[in-house]
């Protein structure tokens, strides 16, 4: 009996110690400072730009970079609030324009002094906030499969066509950033009252409001829906990685909404200078190239995208103004959306 328990204990302990002491998890050398970067999983994960940026940064910074993950920006902000200060969050990546007011209201942030940035014109309005700087961006539209629809929709009103009944995959604006972008797009384009009337009509066309972009996109790639709300760069992923040319991003007569992803430095950062260097790296040509190629998003800085397959995709008409809605305003719009959704179901 004793031997058995001892055997199990030894096996268990060995496994446990092995996992704890894995190379990428080992405690950083005490002589090197550790820059803690809070980010969402697909940025910090092995297939995201995070690990490459980390390697690049560690080559020169005489420091270690450690990623702290949250599944999305909502969870990330909660995590930051709960343990950001105690853990020493130095950099936060992955907030979009609808998160900024909430982030500012919940945490103190450090002003960024990054000098004159040579960004694309479409990005310039997003530089207005002095606490956060965008590191990538993407225009959102509907993505379809080639040859599947008789009439490809070219405007918001076209989405009401009978051919598309229950065939559109959207994201829930309460839990997904692209979902919120769609809600904002409709309201900005049609005005609030008309926009919500339109949304009421659109409800019957929607297959589902998924909690995340990935679920909605999964429904689309599984051929459950004919359209999905996604990025204009989405077809490029399939072309590059899967060698499939089946997908296309639809041009719309209405100017498309733009999602910016921001990086910021909390006021309680422990290695603030290193954090700023990391932000600079993200905005450097090497950093921007990594982000573009791994995130399948447009870089914000000029001179990176040229002569790449991304360049032609940027020629879409986008909303000119970047509006940073207050947390209360976002909450109010979401409540109205929820009422419509609930009303439609009761």
């Amino acid at each position: 009996m004793k031997h058995f328990v001892l055997f199990i204990a030894v096996v268990f302990l060995t496994l446990f110690l092995a996992v704890l002491n894995r190379t990428d998890n080992a405690a950083p050398s005490s002589s090197l400072p550790t820059v803690r970067v809070f980010g969402y999983a697909s940025f910090t994960g092995r297939w995201g730009p995070g690990p490459l940026l980390k390697d690049l940064f560690e080559k020169t910074c005489k420091c270690k970079v450690e990623f702290i993950e949250g599944s999305d920006s909502g969870i990330l902000l909660q995590r930051l609030k709960i343990e950001g200060e105690s853990l020493g969050a130095d950099v936060v990546v992955g907030l979009d324009q609808f998160d900024l007011s909430k982030a500012t209201a919940e945490q103190p942030w450090r002003k960024l002094s990054l000098g004159q940035l040579d960004v694309y014109d479409a990005v310039r309005p997003a530089l207005a906030n002095s606490y956060f700087v965008p590191y990538d961006w993407g225009a959102l539209t509907f993505v379809a499969r080639r040859g599947e629809l008789v009439h490809m929709p070219g405007s918001l009103d076209d989405l009401l066509a009978p051919e598309l009944a229950k065939k559109i995959a959207l994201q829930d604006p309460r839990t997904s950033s692209p979902g919120m972008q769609f809600l904002y797009w409709v309201i900005r384009t049609k005005g609030e009252e008309e926009g919500f009337r339109y949304l009421q009509k659109l409800m019957s066309q929607i297959h589902s409001f998924s909690p995340t972009w990935s679920t909605a996109y999964g429904l689309f790639t599984n051929k459950q829906t004919k359209l999905v709300y996604s990025y204009v760069t989405s077809p490029l992923y399939h072309e590059t990685e899967e060698k499939k040319k089946d997908y296309l991003a639809l041009p719309f007569t209405e100017a498309l909404p733009v999602q910016f992803e921001f990086v910021g430095i909390p006021d309680f950062c422990r290695h603030c200078d290193l954090a700023e260097q990391f932000v600079n790296l993200m905005l450097s040509p090497e950093g921007q190239k990594i982000i573009m190629e791994k995130n399948y998003m447009f870089p914000v800085m000029k001179g990176v995208m040229e002569n790449t397959p991304f360049a032609p995709l940027m020629n879409v008409k986008t909303l000119q103004q970047v509006e940073i809605l207050s947390a209360t305003e976002v909450d109010r719009l979401l409540r109205r959306w929820t009422e419509i959704r609930r009303g439609e179901l009761n």
Binding site: Y40, R46, I68
Partner: protein
């Protein structure tokens, strides 16, 4: 004292959060009623369909009770239980490939829940029928009763309590289900559990979230008074079950397995074409695989210990009533509670994740037959007690040797659940610690098919943990045999 300790362990997320957040106002009634209506409707329908399908499939499994067909039956039981252990997103995407158009909303939730739970219901029902009614079925067969007559007048009335209990068990699982309503609800089927998540995630309304979770628990607790306890039996002899066995049940397993395996297989094949992307990640794969094993085994050991803890504290009326009515706290609440509690670096996720998963699954394991096992041993405990045996002696010499195997089986199931978890781990860990988390990271990009390929390792890790838990419990049972 030990009983109070266990009760406190199970309700500590509520207690802790109540000390941290004030419940200042009553939540919006319209929203609350809407969510409760959706939760109740989907859970009731899911329980009914799972039971009906499970009963049918159980008859199929009973058709394979000869020594020659044991191995085939084992394979079919694994097929039945598999959807319970795979991440819901895979079951969903597989079902979507076959059921087109897939009805999102309540109907979709019910379909996925039924697909996930029919197998569990079938395996538990088949085992209950064999152990409790094997002899009677054989007698009815010898006496020349027809199948339908025995079903109507013998089996169903005698299994009524067990069916109620099993139905309630599935109802509770579905009522508190989080991932499926969130994904399949498609915005139409917001349940209480999803509402709790939204309260925390969207507007940080922790007070509202705690109140909702409390209301949900009270509701389930009151429901548990409706269903009385079932009686278990530990010993049975092999019986001739030809009267009940039905090969049509096997056909149902075939059809339902096709629904969840076809899409999975399709995705797997597409993902294999891109397997080269995994080459550079071999080391991460190995470490995360070990991470899955560590998490799975930790949960297995904790659940084994928890079940034995319950056995040691048995019997006591109020304690039994509490365990029958108790429902695990909402997943989001339990996770955020542990996130707030203490640091989350280094060793801590390896402690917190198993702890959270144990709090969340111990109650389900109790309802999966642990209560029946304890009831079946109650007479022996009474005799031993009246003959002067101490509680320690009763536990060591009566309970432990007889219960260890069953506890190992249940702990093995919990360890498989743990291997497939990414929701709890994602909140409590700072980076990918397991294959399930790695799979979820892949899914959050465009790489769904590669995620499906990777998820096959979840099944392997789960199987290893299951075998270790079951094997370990058997060794312990033998070593402790008086």
């Amino acid at each position: 004292m030990l009983r109070i300790g266990l009760v406190l362990f199970l309700i500590f997320p509520f207690l802790f959060l109540l000390t941290q957040f004030q419940v200042t106002s009553w939540p919006d009634m319209g929203e609350l009623i809407w969510a409760f209506k959706n939760s109740f409707l989907q859970a009731t329908l899911s329980a009914v369909f799972s039971l009906v399908l499970g009963f049918w499939v159980a008859l199929g499994l009973l058709a394979l009770n000869s020594p020659r067909t044991r191995r085939l039956r084992f394979v079919l039981e694994v097929l039945c239980l598999l959807p319970n252990f795979l991440p819901p997103i895979f079951i969903l995407l597989s079902a979507l490939s076959v059921i087109d158009p897939f009805p999102m909303g309540i109907a979709g939730i019910v379909i996925v829940h039924s697909l996930m739970n029919f197998g569990l219901a079938a395996v538990l029902l088949a085992s209950t029928i064999e152990t409790k009614l094997g002899g009677i079925i054989e007698l009815a067969y010898v006496e020349g009763s027809s199948r339908w007559r025995f079903l109507r007048q013998g089996l169903l009335p005698m299994l009524k309590k067990d069916l109620w209990l099993l139905g309630l068990f599935i109802f509770v699982i579905c009522f508190g289900s989080f991932a499926v309503p969130l994904i399949v609800g498609g915005g139409r089927g917001t349940t209480v559990e999803v509402l709790i998540y939204e309260k925390i995630r969207l507007s940080s309304q922790w007070g509202d979230a705690v109140l909702l979770a409390f209301l949900q628990s009270v509701f389930i607790f009151s429901l548990s008074f409706i269903a009385s306890r079932g009686k278990g039996s530990l010993h049975h002899r092999p019986a001739n079950l030809r009267l009940l066995g039905s090969y049509s049940g096997l056909m149902v397993i075939g059809v339902l397995s096709f629904v969840y395996l076809f899409g999975y297989a399709q995705g797997f094949v597409s993902g294999l074409a891109m397997i080269s992307t995994f080459y550079e990640l071999q080391s991460a794969l190995v470490w995360n695989f070990l991470g899955s094993i560590v998490l799975g085994l930790s949960v297995g050991v904790l659940c084994y210990g928890g079940l034995m803890w319950i056995a040691y504290c048995w019997p006591k009326k109020w304690f039994e009533r509490f365990l029958n009515g108790y429902v695990a706290p909402s997943t989001s609440l339990a996770c955020f509670c542990l996130l707030i509690l203490g640091p989350n670096e280094g060793l801590y996720p390896f402690l917190k994740i198993p702890l959270a998963l144990t709090v969340l699954s111990l109650n389900s394991l109790f309802r999966m037959g642990w209560d029946s096992e304890l009831h079946a041993l109650q007479n022996q405990m009474t005799v031993a007690y009246s003959m002067g045996a101490s509680p320690n002696q009763i536990f060591r010499e009566v309970l432990f040797p007889q219960l260890s195997r069953r506890a190992g089986l249940l702990a093995g199931i919990a360890s498989i659940w743990a291997c497939g978890d990414f929701a709890v781990s994602r909140i409590l860990a700072h980076h990918d610690l397991s294959i399930a988390m790695m799979t979820e990271t892949l899914m959050s990009g465009y790489r769904l098919n590669q995620a499906i390929v990777l998820s096959s390792l979840i099944v392997v890790a789960g199987f290893i943990c299951f075998v270790i838990c079951v094997g370990g419990s058997r060794v312990l049972s033998r070593k402790f045999a008086p």
